[in-house]
């Protein structure tokens, strides 16, 4: 891996994505052992710099780094005290002065990871920047799909929900299109970014049409806390039009899997019986997240040698 940072999936080649998935596969074996720890990153320091609250992603990165024997520091400046740009870089330089090898950054501004990567020598891994990208989440989604024995070429994937505010969706779109999948975006027109068809996707405002014969249903979280309710009249209406029910799952391929990046809003974007059904791989995604992040930390760890 020739890269110092993992900021976005958009510029990665198919070979690079495949290498990351293959590497994750080796770490999946490690996470299945009785002693789930290897000495690969002994003596390295990983800093989780989270400007937005996130338990799941931070814990996943923390566990991944610890299982590689790295030292981990969690740094969570309160988001109110931070006003982008300068302050972000200053914070990061302070962390760098403590000799961090890898900085894992979560930030509410798109491009924050990119800015940071230019400003510091440490490797930077983007753990979500605004509405831009969340590359490690998409990689673990891809890994979970591949784990189910599906190949990407010709795979029909429906991404359902608020695409325009979803960094998870954006990373998945870039990667899936690159890998040759047919990507359908399903949601109300108010939640579709302008010109998203140009990325090689098809847009459906009717969920039943969008789900027909798909192999993968990727639900997005309705971020009730984030963007208010300007895009739809009521949660009930949204849920009726774009909630995933067992009847709707039946429109998809009979072996289709249901994914969700979590945390799920039960009864809003996904019905409880669907979330708990056999076709749901939501908990596999969480489990695979650690192996995928171990792989990425491993691949990035050589950059500053």
């Amino acid at each position: 891996m020739k890269r110092k940072d993992l900021l976005s999936l958009a510029p990665l080649s198919v070979d690079e994505i495949t290498l990351m998935l293959d590497t994750a596969d080796s770490f999946k074996e490690v996470t299945g052992r009785e002693i789930k720890k290897v000495p690969a990153l002994r003596g390295k320091t990983v800093v989780n710099l989270f400007f937005e609250p996130s338990t799941r992603t931070r814990t996943s990165f923390e566990l991944a780094a610890k299982r590689l024997s790295a030292d981990v520091i969690n740094f969570a400046p309160s988001s109110s005290s931070v006003v982008k740009g300068e302050t972000l870089l200053d914070t990061a330089r302070n962390i760098e002065a403590m000799q961090a090898d890898i900085i894992v950054l979560r930030h509410s501004s798109a491009g924050a990871a990119e800015t940071l990567a230019h400003g510091v020598k440490s490797s930077v891994i983007n753990a979500g920047d605004g509405w831009h990208e969340h590359p490690t989440q998409a990689l673990l989604d891809l890994y979970t799909i591949r784990q189910r024995g599906m190949s990407f070429r010709g795979l029909r994937v429906a991404i359902v929900g608020d695409v325009s505010h979803s960094r998870v969706a954006r990373s998945n779109i870039y990667a899936l299109v690159k890998l040759g999948a047919e990507v359908r975006l399903v949601g109300p027109p108010t939640m579709m970014p302008w010109g998203v068809e140009k990325l090689g996707t098809k847009v459906y405002s009717n969920m039943d049409e969008g789900l027909r014969d798909v192999n993968v249903i990727m639900m997005l979280r309705l971020q009730l806390e984030r963007q208010g309710r300007a895009q739809f009249p009521s949660i009930r209406e949204y849920s009726r039009l774009y909630g995933l029910t067992a009847e709707r799952v039946r429109l998809a391929d009979s072996a289709a899997i249901v994914m969700h990046p979590g945390p799920i809003n039960r009864g809003v974007e996904i019905a409880p019986d669907v979330a708990d059904s056999l076709s749901s791989v939501i908990l596999d995604q969480v489990a695979n997240g650690v192996a995928v992040r171990m792989g990425i930390l491993y691949l990035m760890s050589g950059a500053n040698a």
Partner: protein, 185 residues
């Protein structure tokens, strides 16, 4: 050793027959030393050692009529030079699908050189379980140890200069079975 080498800059050390005979002898030595196949297992070090472990297991099956368990070990994560490398080596999979407790595990590798790979392999094995005993079988021992490590079973002792390269080429990789020294330059 009258089979011509494939390339000009390589010197043939063992040919297909030499390798086969050495492995047969090692299989017998393993059985003799351990008094049969009871609690015996082989673990090959990726990638050459894995092929050799399978060949040894086949011979042991031929002699004793028993298929002994085989594991495959990738030592990458245990290398002592990981922190120094710019490009991390490609990871392959480790698979030891049996319980090592109370087993005599024979590590198998193609070339024994500095001993660092074997150190890494032993650490890797210990993380996977607690074998009763670890032994080491190699096709070629070329000397220049940097750690106090010694093989129990050796196909061929090969005195070399430090800068020379010893390669074990095997049919499983689409080569003609042979061991060669590559001349530098």
């Amino acid at each position: 050793m009258n089979q011509p080498s494939d390339r000009k800059d390589e010197k043939l050390i063992m040919d297909v027959g030499d390798i086969a005979r050495a492995l047969t002898r090692i299989a017998h030595e393993i059985l003799e030393r351990n008094k049969g196949v009871k609690d015996l297992a082989l673990v090959g070090i990726r990638t050459g050692g894995v092929y050799l472990a399978h060949r040894l297991a086949k011979r042991i099956h031929g002699i004793e009529g028993v298929q002994i368990p085989i594991g495959e070990l990738d030592i990458t994560l245990y290398r002592d030079d990981l922190a120094l490398r710019k490009n991390q080596p490609i990871l392959r999979k480790t698979s030891v699908p049996f319980d090592m407790a109370d087993k005599v595990v024979v590590l198998v590798d193609d070339v024994l050189f500095t001993g660092r790979t074997i150190r890494a392999a032993m650490d890797g094995l210990m993380d996977l379980g607690r074998p009763e005993e670890i032994q080491l079988a190699v096709l070629v021992d070329r000397g220049h140890r940097q750690l106090p490590i010694k093989a129990n079973y050796i196909g061929k002792n090969l005195p070399t200069a430090r800068e020379e390269q010893v390669q074990v080429l095997l049919e499983e990789d689409g080569e003609n079975d042979r061991v060669v020294i590559l001349r530098a330059g």
